[in-house]
């Protein structure tokens, strides 16, 4: 078995400071999305809300879940899964939106 991989890649993992910073941005983004919801953006309301949610989840996944500091294989896995999820959404949309 590949012994070198057994050890944790300690040096990369973020410490207290970085995590707190991320947390503050997450709270900020939450406030932002609530604030924007008050404004009428017409058709873009949903879009903007989803973009903000996506940014938030990127922060959580990259830092809290330390994908950013993990092996490449984790990123590939995640990308494949998200692609399939997107495909499934799009293909369903072709039915729902074109009826």
């Amino acid at each position: 078995m590949n012994n070198e991989k057994l050890q944790h890649s300690e040096d990369h993992s973020p410490g207290y400071g970085m995590n707190v910073l991320i947390w503050m941005s997450l709270l900020g983004l939450t406030a932002l999305t609530v604030a924007i919801a008050g404004i009428d953006l017409g058709n873009y309301t949903l879009f903007v809300a989803m973009v903000i949610a996506a940014i938030k989840s990127i922060l959580v996944i990259n830092v809290f879940m330390h994908i950013k500091f993990d092996d490449l294989i984790f990123k590939v896995f995640l990308l494949v899964t998200l692609t399939i999820l997107a495909v499934v959404f799009i293909l369903t949309a072709f039915d729902v939106f074109y009826r």
Binding site: V80, I84, V88, L91, T92, F94, D95, Y98
Partner: protein
């Protein structure tokens, strides 16, 4: 049981006595080989039940009107037949039985990554199966929705649907655990020198399958949960009376169930890619092409689920999109078929039982797959959807495809797993009989379907009677073949000759160990220096019947 094989000073996994005794030594064992055999036995049990139900259905179809059962019974019988065959036999199928047994061995590992999860998955399988069986005896009576559980019928029927649904949910969980285990094992536990492109194709196919199990199965999970919630609380998500949309149920159902058909066939394709090189003594043709076709089937499989819904009332736009992708997904399968046949070219072929199964498979699966093309085409599918043509199609791919290879795998690995040999001649006879019966039974269905005989029909118009009778007689021939095969195997298990370590001259790692395998698989940790099909090396060494 006495020790067998060439090497006598080792404990085989069959003989090993651990902390637990008797049956507990099996049902509490985390040894991947024992889990594999547990799966094999339980699946054969369910399979026998499923086949008996199939036999009863055919008997009912012998004449118009009532032959042996009432309409309600018939509806329950085809539903249970479908549920048992799909969820209890063919989806766990080859991965759970032979995958568990041989995947770690093929990559030179001692066990899977999470042995306890592996045992848990068998327990979940058993519990899920029990749920399904228990439902037969509950007040509502056996479920009658068809294996597809379509709403709103499944919300309205008075039969017992909750239990079989929960059963299917639990079985899904079991399938997910197997998938997680396999992906992790392949990534983490390969032996020294076992590079990715030195893995046997069986492992590649299991790896692709495992990904489908992981990604697709949760979708059926949530679909089932929603139906159960609907039954209990009436939230309305699938209930047209409350604004729900039954078509969305079908989307969710097939988002899982189409990729699931590749869960069924990919492992079988993997077994085929093992058997052909072994019996042709020849390197597989286009190793990488087969690898990538497995991976691409796993992915493209998500693009086509709508071909089960061409007439469901979904938008015309998505109808043609799904039809288009359906054609794309046929290509990787075609690539495999061509590569298999090409492997036989200039080989040194021995026609033994596993190989004969493979030949039958190539013909039957091609027929099944090519009729899949007829169904993938929009205009013809609109005519043939939900007719016996579809029934013919999926029995060709599932029975003629997967189940035949399941049998092939039993014959291929029987000597390794149990250390005994079976009678080759009897095996060949049984294959011949099965092949004839099979075609009589299912080819007729294509004609019936084209003539407009809908499926899930208890009774039919008189003009279909003759063809139905041909099919029923075919089922009897098929049964004769299957019983002969079962007899042959049981006899071999009881009193077969001792099997050598490498009866077929295969090159994958399981043949380097004595039969049956030792407790921890490898007597010494293997180091892999060549690919699984490098028969030229074998010839250079002048090593014939490959005693390791």
């Amino acid at each position: 049981m006495a020790t067998q094989g060439v090497d006598t000073n080792y404990t085989s996994f069959l003989d090993y006595q651990g902390k637990h005794k008797g049956i507990f030594a099996w049902i509490l064992s985390t040894d991947h080989k024992r889990v594999g055999i547990l799966y094999l036995i339980s699946m054969l049990g369910f399979f026998a039940v499923g086949m008996t139900l199939g036999f009863l259905m055919r008997f009912e179809m012998l004449s118009t009107g009532r032959t042996i059962m009432e309409p309600q019974t018939y509806n329950a019988v085809f539903t249970l037949h479908g549920i048992i065959m799909i969820f209890l036999f063919i989806v766990p199928g080859i991965p759970a039985a032979f995958g568990n047994f041989f995947l770690p061995i093929h990559i030179g590992a001692e066990d899977v990554s999470f042995p306890r999860l592996n045992l848990a998955s068998w327990w979940l399988y058993t519990i899920g199966g029990l749920f399904t069986i228990v439902s037969l005896f509950l007040s509502g009576g056996p479920i009658d929705t068809g294996w597809t559980f379509y709403v709103p019928y499944s919300l309205r029927t008075t039969t017992e649907v909750i239990f079989p649904l929960l059963g299917a949910f639990i079985l899904g969980f079991s399938s997910i655990l197997t998938g997680i285990n396999f992906v992790t094992t392949v990534h983490r536990l390969r032996a020294k020198g076992m590079k990715f492109f030195r893995m046997p194709l069986f492992v590649w196919s299991l790896y692709s399958t495992a990904w489908i199990q992981i990604i697709a199965t949760p979708v059926i999970g949530i679909t089932i949960i929603l139906v159960v919630i609907e039954q209990y609380f009436g939230v309305g998500l699938f209930d047209p009376a409350k604004g729900g949309d039954p078509i969305l149920f079908q989307h969710l159902f097939w988002i899982y169930s189409h990729p699931a058909v590749y869960i069924m066939i990919l492992p079988a394709m993997g077994v085929v890619s093992e058997i052909i090189p072994t019996f042709a003594r020849k390197h597989i043709f286009g190793y990488k092409a087969i690898v990538f076709s497995s991976l691409s089937i796993a992915f493209v499989g998500y693009l086509v689920w709508g071909h089960h819904m061409f007439t469901s009332g979904m938008s015309d736009t998505s109808r043609w999109i799904f039809s288009f992708f359906t054609y794309i997904v046929a290509i990787p399968s075609a690539v495999k078929v061509f590569n298999w046949v090409a492997t036989m070219y200039k080989g040194s072929i021995k026609m033994s039982a596993p190989f004969a199964f493979v030949m039958a498979f190539i013909i039957l699966f091609s027929i099944g797959g090519l009729t899949g093309l007829v169904l993938g085409s929009l205009s013809t599918d609109v005519h043939l959807h939900d007719t016996y043509f579809v029934v013919g199609h999926f029995h060709y791919v599932m029975f003629g495809g997967t189940a035949f290879i399941f049998f092939a795998a039993i014959h291929y690995w029987f000597p390794k797993m149990f250390g005994k040999m079976y009678n080759e001649k009897t095996a060949l006879w049984s294959i011949g009989i099965m092949f004839v019966g099979f075609n009589m039974l299912y080819f007729t269905m294509f004609i019936l379907g084209y003539l407009g005989m809908p499926r899930r029909y208890y009774d039919y118009l008189p003009q279909f009677e003759t063809l139905h009778q041909v099919a029923t007689v075919g089922s009897w021939v098929l049964i004769a073949g299957i019983l002969l095969m079962a007899y042959n195997l049981i006899k071999a298990f009881r009193s077969g000759e001792k099997a050598p370590a490498n009866p077929w001259g295969g090159l994958t790692l399981e043949w380097t160990m004595p039969s049956p395998p030792p407790l921890l698989n490898f007597l010494e940790e293997p180091v892999v220096t060549h690919g699984p099909y490098d028969y030229e090396l074998l010839e250079e060494e002048g090593d014939e019947h490959g005693n390791s």
